[in-house]
C-alpha cells in the first residue's frame, strides 16, 4: 500500500451463533485508494463491510482512522467518521421518492417560527445536482423509487453517498443490477471519486470490473483474509486461484 493510511482494521473477529464469520481479519485502506474485496459466497465480505459501516459490530479487534483508534458502534458513528456505505439491498425505501431517499436521515429543513418543515426545494435542487454528477437520467424526482429500473435505483443509492463529505465509500456489488452502459457509468464515477481523494472499498464478483478500477485486491475465504495483491502483479487466474484454494499468491503490505 503506497498511499497514506486512512483506515486500518486489525484482527477483527465476528461470530454468528457459533459460526466464526470473520477470523483475525486485518486490512489497510489508503487515502484515495480503491480496494476491491473479493471472495466466494459466505467468505465474510458483506460482514466486514457492515462492521466498517457500523451496521454490525465486531466481537474482537481494533479499528483506527488516520492512525487514531476508533470505535464504530452505529451507522451514525461511521457517518461521523466520513464513512458511507452502499449496501447490497441499496438501503432505499421503495415507497419514498428520489430526493426523500437521497436525504433520508439527513433531511434539509427550514424554520417557520419554532416549527421545522422539510425544505423540499433545497433537497430537490441538491438531488438534481447530485444526479447530474452521475450523468444519469431518472424519470421524475417525485415518483417512488419502486417504480424505477434497477439501474436508476442504483444511481439514487450512489448519489446518496455524495451528499456529505466522505473519506471512504463502501460498495457492496454496486454493478450487480446494472446493464453494461450503466455499470460503466458507475465504474467511471468510482474513478472520479478516487481522483477527488475519496477511498473506496468495493465488493464485486466481476473480476473484469475489479481489475479495471482497483489499486489492490483483498481476498477473503471462509472468514479469513488470504492476502492482498496488486492487479498489476497478478492475473485474473491468480485471483480466482486465491478465492478457490485459499492460497496466497503475492502478499503485500501489512494487512495480511
Amino acid at each position: 500500500m503506497g498511499a497514506t493510511e486512512l483506515l486500518k482494521l486489525s484482527k477483527l473477529n465476528k461470530w454468528y451463533d457459533g459460526l466464526h464469520a470473520l477470523q483475525d481479519v486485518s486490512l489497510t485502506i489508503g487515502e484515495g485508494e480503491v480496494v476491491a474485496l473479493v471472495g466466494d459466497n459466505g467468505a465474510g465480505k458483506s460482514t466486514l463491510v457492515k462492521i466498517i459501516a457500523g451496521a454490525q459490530t465486531s466481537d474482537d479487534g481494533e479499528i483506527s482512522l488516520r492512525g487514531e483508534a476508533t470505535t464504530i458502534g452505529s451507522p451514525k458513528d461511521a457517518s461521523n467518521l466520513g464513512i458511507a456505505a452502499l449496501h447490497q439491498s441499496l438501503g432505499l425505501v421503495g415507497s419514498l421518492n428520489v430526493f426523500e431517499n437521497i436525504f433520508l436521515g439527513r433531511e434539509e429543513t427550514r424554520s417557520i417560527g419554532p416549527i421545522k418543515v422539510l425544505d423540499k426545494k433545497k433537497m430537490r435542487d441538491r438531488a438534481i445536482e447530485l444526479l447530474g454528477e452521475l450523468a444519469i437520467d431518472v424519470p421524475r424526482l417525485g415518483v417512488p423509487v419502486l417504480s424505477m429500473s434497477g439501474g436508476q435505483r442504483q444511481c439514487v443509492a450512489i448519489s446518496r453517498l455524495l451528499l456529505d463529505q466522505v473519506n471512504l465509500i463502501l460498495m457492496d456489488e454496486p454493478m450487480a443490477a446494472l446493464g453494461v452502459a450503466e455499470g460503466q457509468k458507475v465504474l467511471d464515477l468510482i474513478v472520479r471519486l478516487k481522483d477527488k481523494g475519496v477511498s473506496i472499498l468495493i465488493i464485486s464478483h466481476n473480476l473484469e470490473h475489479v481489475f479495471s478500477i482497483a489499486d489492490r485486491i483483498a481476498v477473503l475465504k471462509n472468514g479469513r483474509m488470504i492476502g492482498t495483491v496488486s492487479p498489476k502483479n497478478v492475473t485474473r487466474t491468480d485471483v480466482v486461484k486465491m478465492i478457490t484454494t485459499g492460497e496466497n499468491i503475492e502478499s503485500e503490505g501489512a494487512a495480511q
Binding site: A53, A55, S74, P75, K76, S79, A85, H87, S89, L90, G91, L92, V93, G94, S95, L96, N97, V98, E100, L104, G105, R106, E107, T109, K116, V117, L118, K120, R124, A127, I128, E129, L131, G132, E133, L134, A135, I136, D137, V138, P139, R140, L141, G142, V143, P144, R192
Partner: protein
C-alpha cells in the same frame, strides 16, 4: 463533474407520496357518485343539514383515522383504539363531572390516551411484540381496566365549555367538523412536510433502510403510536362531548371502523404509503353509507355487512393497483362490464 447532460424531471411538487392526486380523485368521484345515487333513491339524503350530520357523526372517526393512517403507513396496526378511547374518556369524564377543572379534565383524557399509545409503541419497539398481538392484548386489558373503573356506570354532565366541543357551532359549522378538519390538515402536513412523516413512511417501506441511516427506528415507532393515542384522545373527546356521556363500553368496535376508513382511503396495509386525504374520505364514505341505510330504513346490522364488503373491495382495488393480484385472477362475475 457536470450535470449539463442530465435529464431530471422535478415531478409532482409538494406531494411527497406522489400518488395523492390519483387516489384522492378516485375516492372523491366514488363519494360524489354515492351522493348522487342516494339522493335519487331518497331525496331526504340531499340536504345541507343531513351532510353536516354525516360529517358530525364521522368527525371522531376522521380524527382517529388520521392517527391510524400513520400507524398503518408505518406497517403497523392498532386494535386498541376503542379501549384507549373508553379508558381515557371514563377517567377524564369522571374528573370533570365531579367538579374538576375542565381544562385539566381535557388534559387528562389526552395525556392518558397518549400514554397508552406510547405503551403500545413500547411493547412493539422495545419488546419486539408484533403490532397485531401487542394491540390485541392492550385492547382486551384496557377495556378490562375501563370496566373495572366504571362498569355499569353511565357518566353524564360535562361542563358546558367541554360539551361545546361536541355540540357547539362556529360560523354555522359544528365544532366536531371543525376539529376533524384541523386534525386532518395537521395530519396531512405532518405526513408530507416533516421529518416524522418521512420516517413514518420509511419505517413501513423499508425498516432496515431507515435503521441504516442512523435514525432511531424505536423512537419513530414510539412516536407513531403516541400520535395515534393523541388522535384517539381527541376523537374520544369529541365523541363524549357530542353525546355528553360516556361509559366503559364506549368505542367498542370503533377500531374496525377506523381501520376500514384508512384502508378504503388507499393507505397500503403493507406499509410505506399513506394518504390522510384518503382516510378522511374513507371515514366520510362509511358514515355516508350508514346514514343512507338509516334513512332508507335498513336494519343497523346491515351497516356492518356493508362496511365489511366495502373494505374487501377497497383491499382488492389496492391489490390490483399495486400488482399483487392480476385481473386475470379476479373471477369474471366480479369484473365490471364496459
Amino acid at each position: 463533474m457536470s450535470g449539463s447532460n442530465t435529464k431530471v424531471k422535478t415531478g409532482v411538487a409538494g406531494r411527497a407520496d406522489g400518488t395523492f392526486s390519483f387516489e384522492g380523485l378516485g375516492l372523491t368521484v366514488v363519494l360524489l357518485g354515492i351522493i348522487v345515487i342516494f339522493s335519487f333513491i331518497n331525496p331526504r339524503f340531499f340536504a345541507v343539514e343531513n351532510f353536516l350530520n354525516i360529517l358530525t357523526q364521522a368527525a371522531p372517526f376522521i380524527i382517529m383515522a388520521v392517527g391510524m393512517t400513520f400507524v398503518i403507513t408505518a406497517a403497523g396496526i392498532d386494535l386498541s383504539v376503542g379501549s384507549i378511547l373508553a379508558l381515557s374518556s371514563v377517567i377524564g369524564f369522571e374528573f370533570m363531572s365531579s367538579g374538576g377543572n375542565p381544562v385539566i379534565g381535557v388534559a387528562i383524557i389526552l395525556v392518558v390516551a397518549v400514554a397508552l399509545g406510547i405503551l403500545n409503541g413500547a411493547l412493539i419497539a422495545y419488546l419486539a411484540i408484533p403490532p397485531f398481538i401487542a394491540t390485541l392484548a392492550t385492547m382486551v386489558s384496557l377495556r378490562g381496566l375501563a370496566l373495572l373503573h366504571s362498569a355499569g356506570t353511565m357518566h353524564f354532565g360535562l361542563p358546558e365549555s367541554v360539551a361545546f366541543l361536541g355540540q357547539g357551532k362556529v360560523l354555522g359549522l359544528p365544532m366536531p367538523v371543525l376539529i376533524a378538519l384541523l386534525a386532518a390538515l395537521f395530519g396531512y402536513w405532518l405526513l408530507n412536510f416533516t421529518k416524522f412523516g418521512v420516517y413514518c413512511r420509511a419505517l413501513g417501506g423499508n425498516k432496515e433502510a431507515l435503521r441504516l441511516t442512523g435514525v432511531s427506528v424505536k423512537r419513530v415507532e414510539l412516536l407513531v403510536y403516541g400520535f395515534m393515542g393523541l388522535m384517539v384522545g381527541l376523537g374520544g373527546l369529541v365523541m363524549i362531548a357530542r353525546i355528553d356521556s360516556t361509559q366503559a363500553t364506549i368505542g367498542t368496535g370503533s377500531e374496525i371502523h377506523v381501520i376500514a376508513a384508512v384502508i378504503i382511503g388507499g393507505t397500503s396495509l403493507f406499509g410505506g404509503k399513506g394518504t390522510v386525504y384518503g382516510s378522511v374520505a374513507g371515514a366520510i364514505l362509511l358514515s355516508m353509507v350508514a346514514n343512507a341505510l338509516v334513512i332508507g330504513g335498513a336494519d343497523f346490522f346491515w351497516q356492518l355487512v356493508v362496511t365489511g364488503i366495502i373494505v374487501l373491495f377497497a383491499v382488492l382495488i389496492g391489490n390490483l393497483r399495486e400488482g399483487r393480484v392480476s385481473m386475470s385472477k379476479v373471477p369474471s362475475f366480479l369484473k365490471m362490464k364496459s
